[in-house]
Assembly symmetry: C2
Homo-oligomer: 343 residues x 2
């Protein structure tokens, strides 16, 4: 569709614009060593590229900037997936060689590293509890009529919730039920817990326990808590303010506001990371209009071949795609390896 020369010029423009954030003129392209054409020739090609929709002009007498379509073409066909600097590479490897830590801490820490390395905002979706199984369940009475329910999953994640105990239920009764639960349900996947609760041990409980109905409600409530599982970690949110395109308070505010809306962000991350490998959403390809001038690059990490979490980088559409994709690729694979080791 594009000639070799057009591809070369488009690449040059995108690269330049990513670096400078200023419209790129024909003369500055011509002056680069790697393009052997005069400004006039380049002007002609640029006019063509604009007609094809790959470039835009802020106003008549300015240089060109890439359009969303231009970025998309760049990402799909042109971006040089240059490797990281060796010391950066080592840094990431060292991170996982570090001493063992709680899984969510690792994810959170990975987010910090990502945002520091890239100077963009990192958005990480913690490992989904969904695909892990029950390791241990516990119900600890606290006061007169409250108890804390604790669920530990096979990956060592701990979820807890305070529940209220109906009057009349004795401690020994509760213990009996909890024991039964641990005997019967350990190893059951979290997402099957509730149905297993009703189908497998419902009858047995009914036989042995006095306040069946009430206790069932308590368990129901307790297990509910464990299911909203996935956690969202943000890091480097203020990096957005460094970008020249977000010098405008109002633009930046709509983005930062969205950062506080965890559920919306979660949905975006989940919908962005369909399929395997690295996904790039450029500008308006994101569902939310606050991200119209942003690009979101995501990758998933997996346990036993099944994707359980997502890591992502959010930056301006004028983003260092090649670098970020390289980093995300490595980190997602390392996270996957790390999780398998733990499993």
């Amino acid at each position: 569709m594009l000639t070799e020369r057009q591809r070369m010029i488009l690449t040059a423009i995108v690269d330049d614009y990513i670096r400078s954030a200023e419209p790129v003129g024909s003369r500055s392209i011509s002056k680069r060593g790697d393009v052997g054409y005069s400004p006039a020739t380049i002007r002609n090609e640029m006019a063509d590229l604009e007609e094809l929709g790959f470039l835009e002009q802020p106003h008549t007498s300015a240089g060109r900037i890439p359009s969303h379509k231009g970025y998309r073409y760049y990402v799909d066909h042109l971006a040089p997936f240059n490797l990281l600097a060796p010391n950066e590479f080592k840094m990431m490897k060292a991170f996982f060689a570090d001493k063992l830590n709680a899984i969510e801490q690792v994810v959170q820490h990975a987010g910090t590293i990502l945002s520091h390395m890239t100077n963009y905002t990192s958005i990480l979706l913690g490992p989904e509890v969904f695909h892990t199984s029950l390791r241990h369940f516990q119900l600890l009475p606290l006061g007169e009529n409250t108890a804390v329910a604790i669920i530990v999953t096979s990956t060592g994640q701990v979820e807890n919730k305070t529940v209220s105990i109906p009057p009349g239920v004795s401690v020994s009764e509760m213990e009996k039920v909890v024991n039964l639960l641990n005997r019967k349900l350990t190893g059951v996947p979290i997402y099957k817990l509730k149905s297993a609760l009703y189908n497998e041990i419902g009858q047995e409980m009914q036989r042995h326990v006095e306040h069946f109905e009430e206790l069932m409600n308590v368990l129901d409530e307790a297990l509910d808590g464990g299911q909203d599982g996935q956690r969202l970690f943000l890091s480097g949110t203020t990096n957005m303010l460094n970008q020249p395109e977000f010098r405008d308070i109002d633009k930046v505010k709509s983005i930062l506001d969205l950062f506080e809306e965890t559920p919306t962000l979660m949905k975006m991350m989940i919908s962005a990371s369909t399929g395997t490998g690295i996904q790039v959403r450029i500008g308006t390809e994101n569902d939310h209009e606050a991200f119209a001038n942003c690009s979101l690059i995501t990758a998933t990490y997996a346990i036993e071949g099944e994707a359980v979490g997502t890591i992502g980088i959010l930056g301006p559409t004028r983003m260092e795609y090649a670098r970020v994709i390289g980093i995300l690729d490595i980190l997602s694979k390392d996270l996957t390896k790390f999780l398998s080791r733990l499993h």
Copy 2:
């Protein structure tokens, strides 16, 4: 020190400036119904107040704005602690009448409400684990050589940490130790746990257990996790962007950057909330220069008379002191009541 009329004029200026964020002129004060003097008279008083350091002038031909000293005087002597609107009051009460929830959820939710009601940023320090006691300890093996340690406190807070198990230690050995620990240490205040571990059950363990040294290290590591206890909750960080004094990206960036530095913020909150009651830190009274144009108002909440956490509101120095102080006062007392009920 100040005449009655000066106090009245100072009050009027601070009130006006809080509302409008624009320098206040003599004429606009004079036009208010409650001040019966001409602009000229007020001008004279304003000149005096400026000389005394209560007011400042951005430039010669502008109105006056309160200085830090002016705000301080206003907060200490002039602010009308008007009550909240009845519906706001009800809203806050209703919040605590709500169904029982995990304690940290309550604190976090309180932060959300605070920031919404005030349109400022709320900073809450979660209940200190320090002053609670051990309710239950557990060590669950996960894989070959890892385990998750769980500590439940008397208030129902759950802390967990992944630890590595030295090779050679058997599951039954671990169980023995955990049982011993629960028997001997339940009810011991968290901050005494480590010393109690060594003094009270050190010898007994040594007698019964083979890998004493290694297990001691594991427990040490596990209990370490529980001690960094206090958690920081932020809400409404982007409200800062609404304030006209923070239209400047660079100013706002230094503030938002500080929001990401949890340890620094924690220290500030702790140092700000010495003593009981409500504390107000105006402008440069805050230790950090990013907050030079901000005021931080804090209050503590308590369990059994002992302060265990802090709630705070951060806004521009031009802050609705009266309103915010009123809200914080009510909320901190309600939180205290709520915690006692739980205890």
